[in-house]
Symmetry: C2
Subunit: 693 residues, 2 copies
């Protein structure tokens, strides 16, 4: 509910698995491809190995992955996964995102205001329970029934201790399976080490999704419990040599979402109705942020986190649009869909059982097209709050008060009891608010809303009144007191009564929006999402019936394991080698942003072994959300840190092409070398080497 | 060659006619639909009527239309067609685009630095000449032959007097016909009257392409000859009453381009390879300009012209993308293409004559996809000069010197002798240059180039060197002397020698770019444009052979006549009436931008008759480039001024739907009333009423 992150962006799209080839697959930890692994790599994971990687792997609730790399709670993730924490901790003239942060001793490890780690404890198949609850229902009834059974399952899983446990009912195979995921929750997460942005993201946007690459995209956090470093006996020991070409590699992490089983009709609707408009929308926002940043260092700091996210999303969108314009891909999808449809149609019993889910999908897509703009702008909050803190908090407060007044089973998932600790952590976080930035984002968002919905839309008329977006934004940001975390806490604790009594203009705006947003959201859920999901389930079940459930489900931002090997690829006939090294980094540096090395690296040049491997590529099957995942060897040791995919990996959202799709990682050898020789942090280097503080 | 206007934008896209229905059609003046007009409206235009509208109608070379509305050279066009002139004339604290300009007497009429008017003198069919020259040739040979014959035809048409005459060989029906258009050229064009932007574009972007509408989107210019108002006996007399609902209306103007006969394969390639990327590109630029403008009144003034154009283009693109995602439209196009392809395939003689142009098109599209980014960024100048004056001038000077050294027949069309007066007018225009704006646009353009071509593209590496785009832009803008028109003139007059000797950094940059750009352009022309054109010709000729040449050609920014009637339409089941009035304008005003009325209109409210018709809609078939066209009645009188289409008109680029596609015009009654009572200009009001100064 805070800033509009990549995760919430992905949420605006719709989301499906086929016979896996090459090193394809994002496998759930309870159904690993044991046979393939043995056949292809002569490796069978032991129960201990599986237990280790499961408990060492972490999910960052805001949209990334990580891992424990010491027995004392040390967490490895990406620099770009810590952007929000680094920005939020930067007060006054500090800019930890740009300049890095080094904790030389434990007392120097500051708490991130708003980071939550999840460690997978167990997976339980609850398909029968969910299916029993939703059988024979459709539309609003179905949504209500599914929410009720999910709430029951989650509550009983949490067992009254939501500060320790987090439980989510996860829809797999587009409704072919349901599983209850139970995680241990860590909310006291502190910052240990972050390098400068200029080395973490060396090459910047030009090199993003490209390779060769030279990035030290790492941050180390530490999980605390009861004010002390958490005891985490199951962690990945560092293999300080990194991997070799051809080595078997595993990635355990949380791929966000894929659409590999989604029917073409739905992909086409997504492209035209959502992807293209959002591409334009984000491009516009990027231009605003680019120019905003040029006004000075302070402005650059205010905009950096959001600008980074948007630049990244735009590259992803561009890659998606290319795949969705690929004629071979389209023909293959259409053929696959037609074959399954024919298979159903060929048999009366199947027709009776599955119906014609494609026709239902088409109908739902048409309705989605009619409703989408208002749904996105009003219910999705894009019309007011893109990139803003104050409006997002106001909406969370108003919506939270309203939702908490309902029985748990009827609430939106975000506001179920089991999830309230995450909401509260975010609301109460003492983070800086930049009025000029807030004003700019609100003015821009409202102007876009008026442009997209039209000046004559009744909601637009009522909300803007006789003011311009700029005037209204000015008045709201100047008038609100929500920048103060104590004010937010009072309003949250006061519930519906405090919200109703508030004269804060931002709260007043959110109060005006919320009933309209609720109506629109309900209509979209009932008329678009519910029938889409029902049709998706029928298609998934038909596919199971025809092919057997031998494959992996589409990604759902839950822990998955992928296997593969360290390997380059051929680009336009040329071999791309799988490793880069420090020597290449210094060659690529120009002195000008984004190819400008920080002082620390210029100073350390002579002390470093130029042949140290820096980044490498593997053919593991990953996607956005896997950022920060460890690369693991046969022995269960960390050999790398995933931070990106190559340009061909973007199409992986729709189809995995093992010949060119590559994951990009930082080599553990580079990490150890940098920590010791560039940043001169023997305490951290020793912890990485020994696995203990 | 100056700013990147909508015209040059349209030039990046590719460009085709079917049996015309309803009031469809953009007819050339030498082939009017006389039979349909008689049948549907009982009207047959007399030779005098045709001669009048042909000579009263004008083309504004930069991308608009206009008309003579008095015998003393008074020209009516849109306010938005005068944006560039209004911006260029605004020195110091003046902002004529925002605040308007009123010439109370003839001495107050300032010369627009860079406006050229073209008055159609004659049309000559030169199909046989061109076909004879290109017969049996393809690729580079074909382009060369076509350029040579065009140059010969144009030169002999101009007859050595390029200051008076302008001649263009125009490709009609995608190569089915060629015609030589001869125009009288007016380069001394002065500003008479422009209202405030806030009434010219009342409702701003939110109301753009919408209706009801309340805009006074007008500018009056005056053509001069020999320092005196030009004598223009063929002009449109004002019908000061405006039209009535159902009245027969004609629009004569210059529709820019349409793609109604373009095969689907080409449209799909355009959508995916050009439209979507450009949509994102322009959106990004819009964001930059939006934020740039918010820094203050001076910055808003610097950015306003470009921002207006981009906002407009983005709405057009959005409409196009919607049509190109419409399944019914796609199916119909595919069916049409398949039918013609089958018709050819059914007969060996036809196969021999036409070949398989669709296969050739597909091949050319594939090649286009590979070459497009470099073509657009480097040859098209997007990588450096979007929105800049200084870089555009540098490139014109360098390219012009190079091109003028060649024989006329081998030059790019822009630099043929017959066109040099327009280039020189533009280069020598004494217009303001805003360094901060230039820097911003250059930095942004180069950053986008690096993003799109990649940091490892050899051209990008060589051009940027070790500098960031911002550093390089700063250095170029600070170091160049091209802001001085005298410097530009010396370099132009000095030709290749002066260019080679120049140490101006902007010239040096253009010198480095030009050979690369030339190579890329030639490759794109030879491998993409030439085969596309050849295939388009074959398709057009096959269609002629099957259907007869009974229809109108796709738009080519040449004078066309469309006929229709004043009529509203049904929107979501509701009637939209065809007229708005002054009363509605005052009701819609809120006091906040873009619904804020200027002081002049607030002050005049009581003096105005609230029932005066302000804007109206007709079902004339128009498109971008028709802006500023007169609406003409049966008697050959002006009854309105086209300034927009409704939202359904955007799809008109691909298909005309007479049930909802509407042109939007200012009523002549409103124009006369405003000039007399709001702006209190009796001299101009009398001239409009009498047709004489």
């Amino acid at each position: 509910m805070k800033r509009w992150t990549m995760a919430s962006l992905a949420g605006l799209l719709l989301g499906a698995s086929a016979g896996a080839a090459a090193d394809e697959g994002m496998w759930t930890l309870d159904h690993l491809p044991v046979q393939q692994l043995q056949q292809r790599y002569g490796f069978t994971p032991s129960p201990q190995w599986i237990d280790l990687v499961q408990h060492a792997a972490l999910r960052l609730a805001e949209g990334c992955s990580g891992s424990f790399v010491s027995a004392d709670g040390l967490v490895m993730t990406n620099h770009h996964c810590a952007n929000t924490c680094l920005s939020q901790l930067s007060r006054g003239g500090q800019n930890y995102m740009a300049d890095g942060y080094l904790a030389r001793k434990q007392e120097d490890e500051p708490k991130c205001p708003d980071v939550e780690l999840n460690q997978l404890d167990s997976i339980t198949d609850v398909t029968a329970r969910v299916n029993a609850a939703t059988a024979g229902r459709s539309g609003a009834e179905r949504i209500k029934a599914e929410r009720a059974v999910s709430s029951q399952l989650e509550q009983s899983c949490v067992g009254g201790d939501a500060r320790t446990w987090r439980c989510d009912v996860v829809t797999l195979y587009h409704g072919g399976r349901y599983a209850l995921y139970k995680y241990r929750r860590y909310q006291d997460v502190r910052l240990v080490f972050a390098p400068e942005q200029s080395i973490a993201f060396f090459g910047g946007d030009p090199d993003n999704f490209n390779f060769p690459r030279y990035d030290l995209d790492v941050t180390f956090f530490r999980a605390y419990q009861d004010g002390k470093p958490a005891r985490t006996p199951q962690f990945l020991k560092f293999n300080t040599q990194g991997p070799k070409a051809g080595d078997l590699t595993f990635v355990v992490g949380n791929p966000g979402s894929t659409q590999r089983e989604t029917p073409w009709t739905q992909l086409a609707a997504m492209r035209d109705g959502s992807l293209i408009p959002t591409y334009g929308y984000l491009s516009d926002l990027r231009g605003v942020l680019w120019q905003y940043s040029r006004a000075g260092a302070q402005q650059a700091k205010e905009a950096q986190d959001l600008l980074f996210g948007i630049d990244n999303s735009l590259k992803v969108y561009k890659g998606w649009l290319q795949t969705l314009a690929d004629e071979d891909f389209i023909r293959r999808k259409q053929k696959d869909d037609a074959a399954l449809r024919d298979w159903i149609a060929a048999d009366p019993a199947r027709r009776a059982k599955y119906g014609d889910p494609w026709a239902e999908l088409e109908q739902a897509q048409r309705r989605g097209k009619e409703l989408r703009d208002r749904y996105t702008m009003i219910a999705g909050g894009r019309g007011f709050g893109v990139g803003t803190q104050l409006f997002a908090d106001a909406l969370t407060l108003v919506r939270g008060a309203d939702q908490r007044a309902k029985p748990d089973a009827e609430r939106l998932p975000t506001f179920r009891e089991a999830n309230l600790p995450a909401v509260e952590q975010s609301l109460e976080a003492n983070v800086p608010v930049y009025p000029a930035f807030e004003r700019t984002m609100m003015a821009w968002s409202m102007e876009k809303m008026r442009q997209i919905l039209g000046a004559d839309d009744p909601f637009v008329r009522e909300t803007l009144g006789r003011q311009s977006p700029d005037q209204l934004a000015q008045q709201l940001v100047a008038g609100t007191r929500l920048a103060d975390p104590a004010v937010r806490k009072r309003l949250w604790d006061g519930g519906a009564k405090a919200i109703a009594a508030s004269d804060d203009p931002m709260i007043a705006l959110a109060r005006r929006i919320e009933p309209v947003a609720t109506r629109i959201r309900k209509q979209y859920e009932d008329e678009v999402e519910a029938p889409t999901k029902k049709a998706g389930e029928a298609i998934a079940q038909a596919r199971f019936a025809r092919d057997g459930a031998s494959s992996y489900p589409d990604a759902t931002f839950t822990p998955r394991l992928s296997y593969g090997k360290v390997a380059g690829w051929k680009e336009k006939g040329e071999d791309v080698p799988p490793f880069t090294d420090f020597a290449g980094l210094y060659r690529r540096a120009t002195g000008a942003d984004p190819f400008k090395l920080p002082e620390s690296w210029l100073a350390a040049k002579d002390a470093l072994d130029p042949s140290t491997p820096m980044n490498f590529v593997t053919d593991n099957d990953i996607i956005g959300g896997n950022s920060g995942s460890p690369v693991i060897d046969r022995e269960g040791r960390a050999v790398g840190l995933i931070f990106d995919g190559n340009i061909h990996s973007l199409g992986g959202n729709f189809v995995f092409d093992g010949s060119v799709n590559r994951a990009v990682a930082v080599d553990t050898a580079a990490l150890v070398e940098a920590v010791r020789k560039v940043y001169k942090l023997p305490r951290l280097a020793d912890e990485l080497a020994s696995g203990h503080l």
